[in-house]
């Protein structure tokens, strides 16, 4: 496992120096962007679909507590047990207690970002439960003891040769090969046996429908269906924001999600689960459990502006289009959710002091906002979090608001205010700046962060005010 420092400046610098990371991400992101663009070629359709998707998600959030209760009630009526967890520790405990009640020790997992938030695999291993990722990308990442570098394509940071080497080393009896079909075949052989033997299957949830008590899961591989239909027990994990009101809301959201995420109009499987095995059915899990996790989301919900963060449908388009993400890759963020959505979500969940660097890891170019299928104002939220990190706004509910305040930064701004508030000092400073323009810009101190990567601007010989006065402009 490549361990990167938790500090973004250091980890991004290291990532930038790694030509492998840059080449792998560049190639993957270019492909994903082109595929998405081809499917949204008609701007009228894109606008209509996007505005419908946004209004569905806004309507959902406007009624979130009611919809969650309705979901719970409908799920229970369908025979799905519902569990609530405020923290990831509570969610882990809930999963473990369900598994223990069934004596389950072998678990197969479909892809779930909520389970990554929970660090569920590590937790289960510590408690004697084998938890095996079955999505091919997640399987690769788990095999190499890594974390996903992309929320849709977890192993995107590795190229074929790296995966071939990994399989050759870690899979018993495997011959080294770079043939993708052969590598896929190896994983198929191993995982089919695991599906057959598993005591329980875990999955995420793409959307949970309050009206019908239905869990919607989409995927291409079939591992999601294997995990949710083959073992006798299915445990689904969702964040509180995953609910939607009506079944009719699902098709437009799926259209946005599939096209934005992987440039597909539809995935291979769209799986609607509304209950465990029916009384006369011959297969399907005997029990289905739904764990609803908060993990800081209800705090985000408290703020009307930040609440838009919860509209996210986890398509990953923002990272695919992000010039920062494309260059530094997913691991540099040292967060479960990398890229633009991670830059606004992670500081809100873990604190703006603990993760104060993330909102700054952006050029504010707005590419993410342009492609977001539910119109999350990511750049505005980034700016809000930058402000909140050093100055708590009145009534703020942001975690650790104002705690990342830096004494030096404060002094510099105080000085700035001083200079700009007094014409006399301002004139003096601009005079100094223009007369001393040939002095080299500082290579040390707080300005170094700027000058080390940019050419420092050189002031003009005379200021605009001076030139204007010379020409007799009044009040100059």
């Amino acid at each position: 496992m490549t361990t990167l420092p938790a500090n973004f400046r250091a980890s991004s610098t290291a990532a930038l120096a790694d030509p492998q990371i840059r080449a792998n991400f560049r190639r993957a992101m270019d492909g994903l962007m082109a595929k998405r663009a081809a499917l949204f070629a008609d701007p009228a359709e894109w606008r209509a679909l996007r505005s419908l998707g946004t209004s569905i998600r806004r309507r959902t959030l406007a009624n979130l507590p009611d919809l969650l209760e309705r979901l719970e009630q409908r799920c229970r009526a369908n025979g799905i047990a519902v569990h609530w967890a405020e923290t990831t520790a509570e969610a882990n405990a809930a999963v473990l207690s369900i598994l223990r009640a069934h004596g389950a020790t072998r678990v197969v997992k479909g892809k779930s970002m909520v389970s990554e938030e929970m660090h569920l695999n590590d937790f289960l291993e510590e408690h004697g439960v084998e938890s095996l990722e079955s999505d091919l990308g997640e399987y690769i990442v788990q095999l190499d003891h890594e974390t996903p570098s992309h929320i849709i394509m977890p192993a995107i940071h590795k190229n074929g040769r790296q995966i071939a080497r990994l399989f050759g080393e870690k899979i018993r009896g495997a011959q080294y090969t770079e043939d993708v079909d052969t590598l896929t075949g190896m994983a198929r052989r191993i995982l089919r046996r695991k599906f057959e033997e598993a005591d329980a299957g875990l999955s995420g949830v793409n959307f949970a429908v309050a009206e019908t008590g239905t869990l919607v899961l989409i995927e291409n591989e079939g591992n999601g269906r294997m995990s949710t239909h083959v073992p006798p027990l299915h445990i689904a994990l969702m964040g509180i924001e995953k609910v939607v009101e009506r079944l009719e809301d699902v098709p437009p959201l799926l259209a946005l999600l599939c096209r934005s995420a992987t440039g597909q109009t539809i995935t291979t499987y769209t799986n609607l689960i509304s209950g465990p095995r029916g009384p006369h059915e011959k297969d399907g899990p005997r029990e289905v459990h739904l764990v609803i996790l908060d993990n800081g989301r209800s705090r985000i919900f408290l703020d009307p502006e930040l609440r838009a963060t919860l509209r996210c449908i986890r398509c990953g388009a923002c990272m695919n289009h992000c010039p920062v993400y494309t260059r530094v890759g997913g691991h540099a963020y040292a967060a479960v959710y990398p890229g633009p959505i991670g830059k606004i979500l992670t500081p809100q969940v873990e604190g703006v002091k603990a993760r104060h660097e993330l909102p700054h890891a952006s050029s504010l170019c707005g590419a993410c906002v342009e492609v977001c299928p539910v119109e999350i104002p990511i750049t505005e939220i980034l700016l809000r979090l930058r402000r909140e990190a050093s100055h708590r706004e009145p009534g703020s509910t942001v975690l650790e608001a104002g705690e990342a305040r830096d004494a030096w930064e404060d002094r510099i701004w105080a000085l700035w205010r001083r200079v700009h508030a007094s014409p006399r000092i301002y004139r003096l400073v601009s005079r100094l700046a223009t007369r001393l323009r040939r002095l080299p810009p500082p290579r040390l101190g707080p300005l170094r962060a700027w000058t080390s990567v940019r050419t420092a601007p050189r002031p003009a010989p005379r200021s605009l005010h001076e030139l204007a006065r010379e020409r007799g402009v009044p009040d100059a």
Binding site: W84, S97, M153, A155, V180, N220, S274
Partner: protein
Amino acid sequence: MPETPPPATPPATPTSPAEVAARERILGRLRAARTAAGGEAAAHGGAAPAPVDTADTAFLAAKTWPPAERLARLRRCMEAVRAEFLEATAATWPAVVRDFLRSAGARNVMAGAGSPLAAPLVAACAGDGDPALLLYDRPVEQLKASLFSAVDAGITTCLGGIAETGGLVLCPSPEEPRLLSLVPPIHLVLLDPTRLWNTLWHAVRDLGWARCLPPNALVISGPSKTADIEQTLAYGVHGPKRLVVVLVAGGPDRAASPAEAP
């Protein structure tokens, strides 16, 4: 709809006091936020569910293709992701399926016990060297080992297809268990080419799923695939390696596909 009585037994694991407390705290916070002034809720009429504006969905409703074009579109979309198509009629499909299985080297094919497909297949596969017909006739616990290792193909019906994106709507039932369309390496589906919806949105509305959904329903648009190794597409990663759609002119059996597509 196939008969799917709602499952009666709620899971045995009780909800712990800690979970009840967590639920109260989460919902309490969400409620407090919503009643606070200036919330997004205020702009959406507070607690009352906002009515759905039909203007928003008009573009979805308008996404239609003439019935004659729907099949070509579905076929084009699904062939692009490597689904295969066979053409047959109500009289010929069992022989078409048999011949396909022989050419694919399948030793057997599994159908659901009680499925209307079973009897015609038994009749068609009576010859020497014909694939054997197996029946999914008991709970999976007693069938898992052979299902995973010995069954070469599974055959099911479907409720219809989706023209816009390609995809078949399946509704597993006691007569057609869930794993028939997932575990065997080949999945054959019989499709009546007149039962095609314009979009998934139309299908969800026409099937009345908002009122009654079976424990499992799904849309399948092709064989299992992945692009997780260097974005290179590979088929047959976990589920079926081949998805074979048998177009049955006139329908395989009216009773086999109960939904009335438009």
